[in-house]
Amino acid sequence: MIILISIIVGLALFFMIGVSARSALQAVAPAHHKPTFRDMPLTASFGLAVILFYIFVAVFAPLIAPYGESEVLGAQFLPWASPHYLGTDKLGRDMLTGLIYGARNTVGIAFATTALAFFVGSFLGLWAALVGGWLDQSLSRFVDALMAIPALIFSLLLLTIFGTSVLTLILVIAAVDATRVYRLARSVAQGIVVMDYIEAARLRGEGMWRLIRREILPNAMAPLVAEFGLRFCFVFLAISALSFLGLGIKPPTADWGSMVRENATLITFGDITPLLPAGAIALLTVAVNFVVDWQLHRASGLKE
């Protein structure tokens, strides 16, 4: 019965958020973008609303959170009751505060990592496809060699060598993920560089940067955007896995991945607190993929 009710409540929430987000976006959007938002599916508007909410929380974390990020406030593992509405963790820090700051740290780091991986990977991939020859060969074989090493082992290795700051974490995971993006971007671009319009642009005397940015990239966007949504989720998992191994985001910085691990034992006592950070990750993952699907649909020309 409870399950049924929660499913119904969940669906109702989904539709409510979806519909209201869509009408809100439509009202705010500039005139020539209005049709875009009018035709967007409910899933996409729900996803957008969730993402915007996460961004809001991440940006204004210090204002929203009831306590400081690393403040120890009282007993460990307190139950859900005022003033700690979601209880406390094993050090006695406020759970709600942890979740709010986690949005900032985890999402921020994951986004920065994915963005960096995409920038580097797709630029190199498009460049290799465009130039071809020895550049393509050497870059691709180098990437092949990197991909031959299991990702987790490789990032562990790099993190042990370079130390575990947030910056190295971002750089290392981005480097590992960029190899995957490179592969995709290169194979997509190889189909594009043989088109007549690329030949025409080359004959016009266009430079490398312009060819990549204006001629190839817009045509390679659809698969890259789809990959972005997927990659973003993998980066999340990678950060959580590294945190679990003690090489990721270090305490006292709040991070959803480590929050799941630290509180995991509570599950055996029937407490659902560790599911909250896990749920936060899941919700964002789903939301990102909803939006990406919508963008993909539009980019593939199925919009009309």
């Binding site: 025409a200 080359r202 004959l203 016009r204 817009p218």
Partner: protein, 541 residues
């Protein structure tokens, strides 16, 4: 005639979906086909020829649905028959031959395996008999080496042979009806004749009824007993081939006839230094020489048409001039000065002087850029135009190619028709203010009426800006319309070159004569006469 009726279509309506709305593609067409009769379907692209052809098999493409009318095939209502029943008919009693045999054959299987599939699946004959039958039909289709050709893979035989093998395959179950969807459109004129003759003979031998879809009037005149003209899903007129050719009733049909009559006056003969001069060029890929010692000149204000079959090296010549393929020997002169062999070594101004228009506007225009940028980029790049000046230049160019600037400037290529896209290709070339424009089969992918518009536009621009054109084509009707000089190529060498009038009136070489005589004419007896003339025998009809 009543009892010999094979296919009766009445009030057929087919709708296609775009977004959430359905709109009619075929708007109530009637069609009757008797046993052993060949009906020609002609019209521009988008007229619904192929859709109607497929409907004769009770089939509608994805995103289309048959929304009204009846399709009766030999007493079977194809609209209400079950899918199993329809599938039983397809391949067995109704067969289909697609435009591109190369794309329709499965590249992973031998021709004869694909031939045997239909008869074996439909239980018409066992595999062994089917194989013998295949060899027999290959022989009747006049394929070379009929005993062995079936054991080759599709990529091992030429396009014309593939098209004949496909027709043989369609014949495998001795169907009552074959639908030919532009079977010779992708072929060279010389190959087209062989395929046309083979198709016509085999259809007559077996008394098969056929629907022959094409946009080429001269072709349909050779093949069909009756012709039906379609325009935007509606029937324009239908008549006996001879009477339609002699006296078309409708204006639209007449306009289809008239297209071929476009011709412009020859420009004054060449003087001074040629704009571009190809001097003793030998070039190729890898160890193979594709071009062998090619030479010709292109003068300002004149059009040089380069003709030949596919594989004759026409496009490779263009690649040498543009610098995409540096020649092994020889050089390209521009206004008397030698150009660097590779485009990478050429200056921006040298690049600007020579522009190119491609055959497929679909792939030659970046689908993600708006017309403003597509046309504006060369102007901004070469002439350094910015802001207002650039905007007004783009508008001028759009006006020049007869597209309304305000309406089109912010469109994407996908929002244009085929002919309009080709106009954008022309505008992009013009934006660079070049001296030479290379037109690589620019009209081949277009309908005849649209072709005429493009040719007229090119002609007008040539007079206005004193442009030199190098016009690559395999279509001799286009050459007749627009060329001043003709260069005939075969196997990478220039066979013959000279003024258009001379070449057409008095060809010196055998190959030129063969090429010229292969262009289909509107006369329904043309193919018969030609075959008689070539073989010295009477055709078997």
């Amino acid at each position: 005639m009543e009892n010999t009726r094979l296919l009766t279509i009445k009030g057929l309506k087919i709708e296609g979906r775009s977004g959430d709305a359905w709109h009619e593609i075929i708007k109530g067409v009637d069609l009757t086909l008797h046993k052993g009769e060949v009906l020609g379907l002609i019209g521009e692209s988008g007229a619904g020829k192929s859709t109607l052809g497929l409907a004769a098999m009770g089939f509608a493409r994805d995103g289309c649905r048959i929304s009204g009318g009846t399709i009766d095939f030999d007493g079977i209502d194809l609209r209400t028959a079950s899918e199993t029943r329809r599938r039983g008919l397809r391949g067995k009693r109704i067969a289909y031959v697609a435009q591109s045999a190369a794309a329709s054959f499965n590249p992973a299987h031998k021709l004869i395996d694909q031939y045997c599939e239909a008869p074996v699946v439909h239980g018409v004959m066992p595999r062994k008999t089917a194989e013998d039958d295949a060899v027999d039909l290959y022989r009747r289709m006049r394929l070379p080496n009929p005993d062995a050709i079936g054991f080759r893979y599709p990529h091992q035989v030429s396009g014309g042979q593939l098209q004949r093998a496909m027709t043989a395959m369609a014949m495998s179950c001795r169907p009552d009806l074959i639908i030919f969807d532009e079977p010779t459109t992708a072929l060279d004129v010389t190959t087209q004749i062989e395929v046309m003759a083979a198709i016509r003979d085999i259809v007559r031998q077996f008394g098969t009824a056929a629907i022959y879809i094409t946009h080429d009037l001269a072709v349909v005149a050779q093949m069909a007993d009756r012709i039906k003209v379609l325009l935007r899903g509606d029937e324009v007129e239908e008549a006996d081939t001879r009477s339609m050719l002699a006296a078309p009733r409708e204006d639209y049909t007449r306009s289809l006839w008239a297209v071929r009559s476009f011709a412009r006056a020859e420009h004054p003969s060449a003087t001074g230094i040629p704009v571009a001069s190809v001097g003793n060029v030998t070039a190729g890929y890898g160890a193979v020489d594709v071009l062998k010692n090619i030479s010709f000149d292109i003068h300002a204000g004149r059009t040089v048409a380069v003709v030949g079959e596919s594989g004759s090296g026409k496009s490779t010549t263009a690649r040498v001039i543009t610098g995409l393929l540096p020649p092994r020997e020889g050089e390209v002169l521009f206004n008397g000065k030698a150009l660097p062999a590779s485009f990478k070594a050429r200056s921006r101004d040298e690049l600007r002087q020579c522009q190119m228009i491609y055959q497929m506007a679909d792939t030659a225009l970046n689908p993600k850029l708006r017309l403003r940028e597509l046309i504006g980029r060369p102007a901004a790049m070469y002439l350094g135009l910015k802001g207002k000046a650039l905007d007004s230049r783009i508008r001028d160019l759009l006006a020049l190619i007869e597209l309304e600037p305000d309406k089109y400037i912010d469109r994407l290529p996908s929002e244009l028709s085929g002919g309009q896209k080709q106009r954008i290709g022309i505008a992009r070339a013009l934006a660079a203010e070049p001296q030479l424009i290379i037109c690589d089969e620019v009209t081949s992918a277009l309908d005849q009426i649209v072709q005429e518009g493009i040719l007229k536009l090119l002609d007008r621009l040539q007079n206005e800006f004193n442009l030199a054109y190098m016009f690559i084509t395999h279509d001799l009707a286009t050459v007749k319309a627009i060329a001043d000089e003709v260069v005939v190529m075969q196997h990478g060498a220039v066979v013959e070159r000279g003024a258009k009038a001379e070449i057409f009136a008095d060809p010196k070489e055998d190959y030129t004569r063969l090429l010229l005589s292969s262009v289909p004419e509107m006369d329904p007896d043309w193919l018969n006469r030609l075959l008689v003339a070539r073989s010295g025998l009477t055709p078997n009809d």
